[in-house]
Amino acid sequence: MEKITSPELLDQKISECTEKLSAKITGKGGKRAILVCGGTGCLANNSKEIIEKLEALIKEKGLSDRISVNHVGCFGFCSQGPFVKIYPEDTLYRAVKVTDVERIVEEDLINGKIVEDLLYVDPQTHEKVARMDDINFYKKQKRIALHGCSVINPDLLEESLGYDGFKALKKVLTEMTPQEVIDEIIASGLRGRGGGGFPTGRKWQFAANVKSDKKYVVCNGDEGDPGAFMDRSILEANPFEVIEGMMIAGYAYGANEGYFYVRAEYPIAVQRLLHAIDAMEKAGLLGDNILGTGFSFRCHLRLGAGAFVCGEETALLNSIEGKRGMPRPRPPFPAVKGLWGKPTCVNNVETLAQVGYIIRVGAAEYAKVGTAGSKGTKVFALGGKINNVGLVEVPMGTTLRSLIYDIGGGIPGNKKFKAIQTGGPSGGCLTEKDLDTEIDFDTLVARGSMMGSGGAIVMDEDNCMVDVARFYMDFICDESCGKCSPCRIGTKRIYELLTEIVEGRGTMETLDELKELAKITKNNSLCALGQTAANPISSTMANFYDEYLAHIQDKKCPAHVCKSLSKYYIDPEKCKKCSACSRACPVSCIKGVPGKEPYVIDQSKCIKCGTCMATCKFGAISHE
């Protein structure tokens, strides 16, 4: 692309690109477009091979000048992926396999007939749905942070420009003073989406108030919460939107350099981000004197090297500085003394992805969506025991019930809903009684959990809550940086106590000790990692105290998860002596004589893996 050196040139470019993208979507000019999901989940499910096969077949049939094949970012409905969408008809095919490609080309692209069996089937009405907007999963969503996801090709600056990209940047550079930008963001009520929920505009104001020769913007893409992938999907689907948000932040408080800190485990996001930075530099949208306005801005990328604590902003800054990612005591806050000692605002990916929209539509319009204390939308990564696993963006104030049942499609296999964990290892679990809670930053805290970055893991009756609490504590132990002793020792001791309980060695005193330790760790740790580490314990204890008691007093795990407390038996009456279980057993602890004697499990050797039970076709094996 030639350099865009003035606001007028940008306008011209935007209108050219908008027309081009809209022609692609509406089929103006007689060309059809195929979009294929290129998010991490679908790529792992062969979407790259689907694209290659589509391209090859279309070329072979001589259709290349009439049909284009594009990769786009995450469609969000990951459990139904990979997706193939065809414009202008707006037909959405789901769970497409490489072997389906030939039929899509033959039946749809050549003969104009929809391939019926690749359409989404509504589980309630059993009707086939051909258009994305008619699918229940999408109906209740509102896309602000996910703007452009699954529409634009994330590798093309032109498509971003054709889909509202950089209109906000132009507006702030040509029509607004930095203070007006900050005021607008404050007025919008935008709060940080990384978990804390601190008002973004106020953070910018703090940095603006400090006089300094150098300031930085840092984008926190170190999404460590296991089971959360909002930031990754945004960066993979529309990196331009996030860079634009970062530049607007820079303009607002006087920073001219930005650092992205992204997990090394996200290679596709990293590659697309680097590509976007490069394309913008070439187009003159990053660098010196952008659009001839005198504003200069440069972007850099640093990779997270695998430490959960680096999601904490001061630890993240240490990591960028090449040190161990340990948190710094606050104050001074990063907005005063941050990266290399200079004023720095650390903003989450999703936060920055909302900035452009706020500037484009205005704070008042943005603030119409959401609740009194939390404006706008929030992206959640729905996972675990839920039918529609995926990425959803809903207005603040949506109820958990709506999130789980209307959008998430409920629990698979007619199992009973037990709990939903929000806020990851720092959050808590919410249960049946919380289902009608309207989700926002404050209601979730009031209910004993927190928003966190947006991971939402659903659990059903087969999950043991004590085991889940122990799982989170294991995670936190691993990830505690070791700097302060309440967190380093406290989390380890909590983990040991929970292990005692799940192994059947717990007593009522163990519970008292747990409560005490949870309090100490919470009150005395240096950073949020330790301060919130005990949340999963407190919330599972508050909601599932009877499960703790069952483990301690009855030495039973009601969900049959905790191995030490469960036993597998073969019913000699039902056993058909087929030897299948014996052959499947990884530790060879099942003995019998094929066709003659029923099989018996040697309890002293059994590792309680459950393989035998899964193998037996006659239902002869049970556990308690």
Binding site: G325, W340, A381, K385, G455, I457, C481, C609
Partner: protein, 160 residues
């Protein structure tokens, strides 16, 4: 451990390439890890000479982040996802089975140098839970009964 001279030369070049960036230590370590699969103490000393950062501090950084390894990894690195979404779908059983079959613990490498097992926290393929990846190739919806089949795929590659 004896490090080959050309490796040392190459690591020096990597250091030189990044020397003008602010605080480049982790950037350098990431490149070395990526290229050679580990960052042994001997190479940390080379990096120390080039960057002027004390070797003890480099060791501190290398051992802090899970991305860096002090020992070489196997030819096939198996990642079993233990993110929450996978964990609630019984990922632990898959990991246990994997360990039982290969007779190693997470983080260890088999004696023949073929497999390394690592328990990782969320690769973001939550819709494919339980997800297992081997050298980047993702196996979706793995159950413990699938473990042998996955391993065989790579054992067969070796046998060829």
């Amino acid at each position: 451990m004896k490090i080959r001279l050309e490796v040392i030369k190459d690591v020096r070049e990597i250091c030189q390439k990044h020397k003008d960036e602010p605080s480049p230590l982790i950037v350098i370590l990431e490149e070395v890890q990526e290229k050679y699969g580990y960052v042994p103490v001997e190479l940390q000393e080379v990096i120390s000479e080039e960057t002027g950062v004390p070797a003890a501090e480099i060791y501190g950084v290398v051992t802090f982040y899970s991305f860096f390894s002090l020992t070489p990894k196997g030819k096939y690195v198996i990642h079993v996802c233990l993110g929450t979404a996978c964990y609630v779908k019984n990922a632990q059983a898959v990991l246990d089975k994997m360990c039982a079959v290969l007779k190693i613990q997470p983080g260890q490498t088999t004696e023949d140098g073929l497999f390394t097992i690592e328990a990782v926290r969320c690769m973001g393929a939550c819709a494919l839970a339980t997800a297992v990846s081997v050298n980047g190739k993702v196996f979706p919806r793995v159950e413990s009964k699938d473990v042998e089949k996955i391993l065989d795929e790579f054992r067969n590659q070796e046998a060829k």
